[in-house]
């Protein structure tokens, strides 16, 4: 059992389709401006997340998933040029200036990073970091903020909350650090949580605990969650829908059950086949050939074509993201469902 044991509210089942949309991302693109001009990092990403829903952004390193998240938060590097629309709770936030964007952070969106050790301040106490946020975003007094911070730590399953508030990040274990990070992210009651590989740095038993906690929080607070990961198996367990990215593109989008069980895009299929299966060992794995092309060296047309067994002449032109039977796929030669 997790240490967390807050009483769960009576589950009111609202069908997902009927829920309010929290985040809408439309045709998001992002390039870095450098000496040679613009370097495209992300092109044409669209998805939406409803209340209480977890959407996964899946891909290997360098596919643009993390930078997409920072564009949504409004914390992308200064030399980033961002296009497309980002709508949060009905407000088009991509049209706002940096100051107004910053005001949404914490209050409406919370962020959870991969490495809590470096994502929390090394020389400010845990309590100070939490109360700074609470005081600024919610206008609480110091004592009210401390009280609330202790409650939050308690809620994410941290024992001796008052002591921990006086402590520093280096005094905590990896799992505890990530719990603090989660407490910080939910502290001001956001409607959206963006979690960037929140369990990758953790050991497998701790990973399970943290995933449980995130799921509890999501259900309790009806949070919309954007879950960034490279691990398709976690997606299947944890997320309602999934967006698979490759070389800055969305290549497949749909229900996570469909994508993890019978994907239509050859890349998504490849990702699943590349992981050793749970059953019999001594078979060969089916790797994806080659490596992810580095940013700036994307091929023309379908960016996956050079590594794809199904590629032909047609793949020299860029495919569109089109709705197939179950999922949306960007491929000229999608796999049959169930193949």
């Amino acid at each position: 059992m997790t240490a967390h044991s807050a009483p769960m509210p009576a589950e009111i089942v609202v069908p997902l389709a009927a829920r309010r949309t929290v985040l809408e991302v439309e045709n998001l693109s992002l390039s870095f401006r450098n000496a040679d001009g613009l370097l495209p990092i992300v092109t044409d990403v669209s998805f939406s997340i409803r209340e209480g829903e977890a959407v996964a952004l899946v891909g290997e390193s360098g596919c643009g998933k993390s930078i997409t998240a920072s564009a949504i938060m409004g914390i992308a590097p200064e030399n980033a040029v961002i296009g497309g629309r980002i709508v949060l709770n009905g407000q088009e936030i991509s049209a706002l200036g940096p100051k107004d964007r910053r005001k949404l952070c914490g209050r409406h969106m919370g962020f959870i990073f991969q490495e809590p050790m470096t994502a929390l301040h090394p020389t400010l106490s845990i309590g100070r970091q939490m109360t700074d946020t609470l005081k600024h975003n919610l206008g609480l007094s110091q004592s009210a903020a401390t009280q609330r911070a202790a409650e939050l730590l308690d809620r994410v399953g941290i024992p001796r909350a008052r002591d921990i508030l006086r402590g520093y990040v280096h005094e905590l274990s990896g799992g505890m650090r990530q719990r603090v990070m989660i407490a910080l992210a939910i502290s001001c009651g956001p409607s959206l949580i963006i979690a960037d590989e929140p369990t990758t740095a953790l050991d497998v038993t701790i990973q399970a605990q943290v995933l449980d906690l995130l799921e509890d929080m999501r259900r309790e607070m009806d949070l919309a969650m954007l879950f960034i990961t490279h691990d398709l198996e976690v997606v299947g367990d944890f997320c309602d829908r999934a967006v698979v990215m490759y070389a800055g593109d969305v290549v497949e989008r749909g229900q996570s059950a469909d994508i993890t069980r019978h994907p239509s895009h050859p890349y998504a299929r490849g990702l699943i086949d590349a992981v050793p299966a749970h059953d019999d060992g001594r078979t060969r794995l089916t790797p994806i050939l080659g490596t992810v092309p580095p940013v700036g060296q994307w091929p023309e047309g379908c960016r996956f074509a050079p590594r794809c067994g199904r590629a032909d002449e047609k793949c020299r032109t860029r495919p569109r993201l089109e709705t197939l039977s179950q999922t949306d796929v960007r491929c000229w030669h999608p796999l049959e469902a169930g193949a």
Partner: protein, 300 residues
């Protein structure tokens, strides 16, 4: 986000992967593409040449006294003017540079050389390291000039005294850098990998560690050089340097300061030469660091 530094990718195909090749320019080529580096190297070449060729460019004894020519302002006859004894400042600056640069060079070679040997030993033997580092701490915190002043007083001012005391003083920062780098490199997985292969210790040092620490050593050398030039000038200025019979930029300023209101040029030119040399060396060190350590360079 990994943005590779690939400049011109050419593809080698083979096996099931393609090899992306980045044409990597040599350090020298990259240095030559860096305007700061080019300017500083050019300045150093000019300064060295004018020091080496001083007897040709400005023939005659620079210390020759001509009382009739006192305090002539800079002009065509005397480019940098003359001083209180009627000596030609242009000649003094050119010839003074010989001493300053020579002392700087010798001190750099000695202190860096000793630092590399001691740094290597220190990086490998903990007991030696503990003792050496305490010595370095003592030397680092203490002002080198004071030590050199005491040394000069006891050994008598001379070129040897200056070189000895500056070398001792500058070993400390050099050693700290070299040793720090050796400790970093020693922990790299490539060293463990080499040990696991069975590479003997001496080869480990010459083939793995030394090449890896050579870049910071080179960067440090240019800063040590500039510190040595500055140190020599400072010691000579207060009269505990190379002694009155020799000529250096620092020496030239010693007397000049008494005549600053009458003839500011005799203060200006030796100091300017000194500053240019130090500036060029510092800029060279900066640009070397930029070129050799891309991680730091990105910040600039």
């Amino acid at each position: 986000m990994s943005v590779t530094q690939a400049t011109s990718p050419d593809r080698l195909t083979g096996g099931d992967e393609e090899v992306f090749v980045t044409t990597n320019k040599s350090v020298w080529q990259r240095l030559m593409a860096n305007p700061t580096a080019v300017v500083s190297i050019a300045a150093l070449v000019v300064l060295s040449l004018s020091a080496i060729l001083a007897p040709l460019l400005a023939p005659g004894n620079p210390l020759k006294v001509t009382p009739a020519d006192r305090f002539i302002p800079p002009g065509l006859e005397h480019f940098f003017g003359t001083d209180n004894l009627g000596r030609d400042m242009f000649k003094m600056v050119l010839h003074g540079g010989r001493t300053s640069l020579l002392v700087g060079l010798i001190v750099t070679v000695i202190s860096m050389g000793i630092a590399v040997v001691l740094g290597a030993i220190s990086g490998f033997y903990r007991q030696v390291d503990v003792v050496l580092m305490r010595l370095v701490d003592g030397l680092m915190a203490f002002p080198g000039i004071v030590l050199a002043t005491a040394a000069a007083g006891i050994m008598g001012p001379s070129m040897t005294t200056v070189i000895t005391s500056l070398s001792i003083v500058l070993i400390a920062p050099s050693l700290r850098i070299v040793r720090g780098q050796v400790l970093v490199v020693r922990e790299l997985q490539m060293i463990e990998a080499a040990r696991s292969v069975g590479v003997p210790t001496l080869r480990l040092f010459t083939r793995y560690i030394l090449p890896a620490v050579s870049s910071p050593i080179l960067v440090q050398a240019s800063f040590i050089f500039s510190a040595a030039v500055l140190g020599e000038a400072g010691l000579s200025f207060i009269g505990v340097g190379i002694g009155p019979k020799e000529l250096s930029w620092g020496n030239a300023l010693t007397e000049a300061r008494n005549y600053i209101s009458q003839a500011p040029w005799i203060v200006l030119f030796p100091g300017l030469a000194l500053m240019l040399t130090i500036l060029a060396l510092n800029l060279l060190g900066d640009s070397l660091r930029d070129v050799l350590d891309p991680r730091l360079a990105r910040r600039r």
